[in-house]
């Protein structure tokens, strides 16, 4: 649950990406560094091998006396090595490439090296003497000779082996291991073949030339490997540092980004029925979260509106039900308070019956509305003649109209319509009853019917008192009564029910009014669209 939160998922993704990137980056750097190191070592070994080769060529004599003796006069070894190392350091860098490239191609370059070297070392004649003498065997250039000698008591890091193609070893440095020497089938290549290879902790290069002895120069690369490992650990350490910094930063960032969401969610959680008017903070109106907040706010607006409407409806409904109940209760209480005449009892019972009938009709109306709201009320669609239906309704209310001398005018063309004739008849009757109730005595009611395109338009107009403009927009609201007194009858639900029924038929109902009277217009689609079709299409 905890790790399913967006914040943690963000964090985990972030961490994964960081780790992958750092690993690739660190691995690449490590690999490149290793390559570079090896190339340097190889270059150095090649150079050394060439120098050994020069020495070998120069001292070339038939075997077997041509042997290299590595053990020089010890007392002077250390001093000479120090000098040699310095020389090598100074000389190797600038000369590296030229020696590498030219030496094998142009053997005459060796003498070039030689005078330079002797010029270099000439001020130190005294230590030279033993070496000069040995050079008849295998005279290695000064700058590399010490490499194969090693510190006192230590095995030298470098070694070399010179052998012929037939396997006969010509020269070998003291520390050279016993290797199975490769023989090369280099007949097809006339030039020098240079091979690099790794043998455990040793790096070796082999110069295989067709016309000269083969040379293998190797060295231990243990210190280099150690340095490389150190470098590796450095990269790992750096990577971990970057990773933790990145994670920390990501955590702070994600917290910052998530904070408004948490705020929205906590505010939304606090919004309940008792404080529906609370709204989310929309300070960050420009960001995505701001628009989310305002979307939510709009939803809360609609909810609040719907809720208030519901509360008002419930209050109105309870009010309408309680009033007749109060009538029944108080009348019976009064009648029972003492002995009454039969006429009094009769009056009380009549009043109670009236009140009970009102409760009944109210409950029925509320039920109808509730069913229309929840779409439980099934409309029975069938084709019928609207004119006939209207005539029926008019006949139904005619006695009521005649009591007040109201004339009902209706000359209707026959018009077929698909819909629930019973429910629509209720609507027409309701409109007619209203037209009578709110008409003036000896007034007039005009009923008209017209088919326009795919619609049927039914109009009921009266010559009554009209509806004040401030009430007109509300006449279809539930329990809206305007100024009409309760004594004039009606629950305030009639028009609301009309509207629901018409809308269930996908029609519209509108009211117009001025001081000369009101008129209600119903527009119904003639091809019973709406719920009837929903039912047939639903499985």
């Amino acid at each position: 649950m905890f790790f399913r939160s967006i914040r943690w998922r963000l964090q985990i993704w972030h961490a994964t990406i960081l780790v992958v990137v750092l690993t690739i980056f660190g691995g690449t750097v490590y690999y490149l560094q290793m390559q570079m190191r090896m190339q340097q070592i190889d270059a150095e070994l090649h150079r050394t091998a060439e120098m050994v080769g020069t020495g070998v060529r120069r001292a070339f004599r038939p075997p077997p006396w041509m042997r290299f003796s590595g053990g020089g006069p010890r007392p002077q070894g250390a001093e000479r090595r120090g000098r040699d190392r310095r020389e090598r350091d100074e000389a190797s860098l600038p000369r590296e490439s030229s020696a590498d490239d030219e030496a094998p191609a142009t053997p005459p370059s060796a003498p070039e090296v030689e005078p330079q070297e002797t010029a270099d070392t000439s001020p130190r004649n005294a230590p030279r003497t033993p070496r000069e003498r040995r050079s008849t065997e295998l005279r290695l250039p000064e700058e590399i000779a010490h490499l194969f000698e090693g510190e006192e008591g230590e095995t030298p890091r470098y070694y070399f082996i010179v052998w012929r193609d037939n396997g006969e070893i010509l020269h070998k440095s003291p520390s050279a291991p016993d290797l199975e020497l490769p023989t090369f089938d280099s007949e097809d290549s006339s030039s020098l073949v240079r091979i690099e290879r790794q043998r455990g902790e040793f790096r070796e290069v082999i110069h295989d030339s067709r016309f000269a002895p083969n040379i293998l120069v190797g060295r231990s690369i243990r210190p280099d490997l150690l340095a490389q490992y150190r470098f590796g650990w450095l990269i790992v350490g750096l990577g971990l540092t970057v990773l933790s910094a990145g994670l920390l930063g990501g955590m702070l960032l994600s917290r910052r980004m998530i904070a408004p969401i948490a705020e929205i969610s906590s505010t939304a959680a606090e919004i309940s029925v008792s404080n529906l008017s609370r709204r989310l903070n929309v300070d960050e109106a420009d960001s995505e979260l701001g628009s989310l907040a305002s979307t939510l706010n709009e939803m809360f607006d609609r909810l609040e509106q719907a809720f208030e409407q519901q509360v008002r409806f419930t209050a109105d409904a309870s009010h309408e039900l309680r009033t007749p109940l109060a009538v029944i209760l108080s009348h019976t209480e009064l009648a029972l308070a003492r002995e009454r005449s039969a006429a009094d009892y009769r009056k009380t019972i009549e009043t109670c019956r009236r009140a009970a009938l009102r409760v009944k009709s109210l409950v029925e109306q509320l039920l109808t509305l509730a069913r229309l709201d929840t779409k439980e009320l099934s409309l029975e669609y069938r084709e019928f003649d609207v004119a006939a239906c209207l005539y029926e309704c008019v006949e139904l209310v005619r006695p009521l109209a005649e009591q007040r001398g109201i004339r009902i005018e209706c000359e209707l063309p026959s018009l077929l319509l698909t819909g629930d004739s019973v429910r629509l008849g209720q609507v027409f009757t309701n409109l007619l009853t209203n037209a009578i109730a709110y008409n003036r005595d000896r007034g007039r009611i005009e009923v008209s019917l017209a088919g326009v395109e795919s619609e049927a338009i039914i109009t009921v107009a009266d010559t009554g008192i009209g509806i004040p403009p401030e009430h007109l927009p509300h006449v279809f609201e539930r329990f809206y009564r305007g100024d009409a007194s309760r004594s004039e009858g009606g629950s305030g639900l009639g028009l609301a029910i009309c509207k629901s029924i018409v809308e269930a038929h996908c029609g519209t109902i509108t009211a117009m009014s001025d001081h000369r009277g009101s008129s209600f217009q119903i527009r119904l689609p003639r091809e019973g669209v709406g719920r009837g079709e929903d039912e047939t299409s639903s499985p």
Binding site: S318, L329, S330
Partner: protein, 219 residues
């Protein structure tokens, strides 16, 4: 005691006026807010029974308008029983609040309490010398012996007792004891006073000639 009932449901209006008349009140009725407001501001009522949902002027508006000029005790009748409605009712100057449907007995008791409180008395029993008046049971006793009074006589005794020590003018008596439909003959009050004196003793009511009557002047 004279009360005004403002209620737009005719059956309820009828039963309320009938039962309160049987309780001995003089009852005026109004069927809508405008008429109710006119009557309430025109006459001195001891109490108002006011429905909230009224045509023309609703109960709240009527109450607000009434409170500008009069402090008549008002008992609100409503079908809305939400706490917020009750709070609103009491806050806007109603003295009591009764939710429909209600029992007539409770309405009568609350009305009595309202009238008593408005007159500055908080108990149902009023004692003046050897006379004690139980406003709840509407009975009068003299030295512990019940005295039989007509409804009108009792109403007059109660009115005088509630205003004990203060002058009650003839106009006040007419305003509080007779409703708009009563035929108010000028000597009716004297007839009642003389009957009461016969039953409760001559000294119970003191006449201030040309002004009115007073009871319990001496404590």
């Amino acid at each position: 005691m004279r009360v005004l009932i403002v209620e737009d449901e005719p059956d309820l209006l009828r039963v309320l006026s009938e039962s309160l008349r049987e309780e001995g009140y003089a009852v005026d009725v109004a069927a809508d807010g405008a008429e109710g407001l006119y009557k309430a501001t025109s006459w001195e009522y001891d109490a108002l029974v006011l429905d909230v949902m009224l045509p023309k002027v609703d109960g709240w508006a009527l109450l607000a308008e009434l409170r500008k000029s009069k402090s008549t005790p008002v008992l609100m009748l409503t079908a809305r029983d939400a706490v917020s409605d009750r709070v609103r009712g009491l806050d806007s100057g109603a003295d009591d609040y009764l939710v429909k449907p209600f029992e007539l007995a409770e309405l009568a008791a609350r009305l009595r309490a309202l009238i008593r409180r408005a007159a500055g008395s908080s108990t149902a029993l009023l004692e003046i010398g050897e006379i004690s008046i139980d406003t709840a049971a509407r009975t009068v006793t003299r030295c512990g012996e019940p005295v039989d009074l007509t409804a009108r006589e009792y109403a007059l005794v109660e009115l005088l007792a509630l205003h004990r020590g203060r002058l009650v003018t003839r106009t006040m008596i007419y305003e509080h004891l007779f409703d708009e439909d009563d035929d108010t003959l000028s000597n009716l009050v004297e007839v009642h006073v003389s009957n009461i004196r016969k039953k409760l003793g001559r000294d119970f009511i003191t006449t201030r000639r040309g002004q009115g009557y007073i009871v319990g002047e001496n404590g």
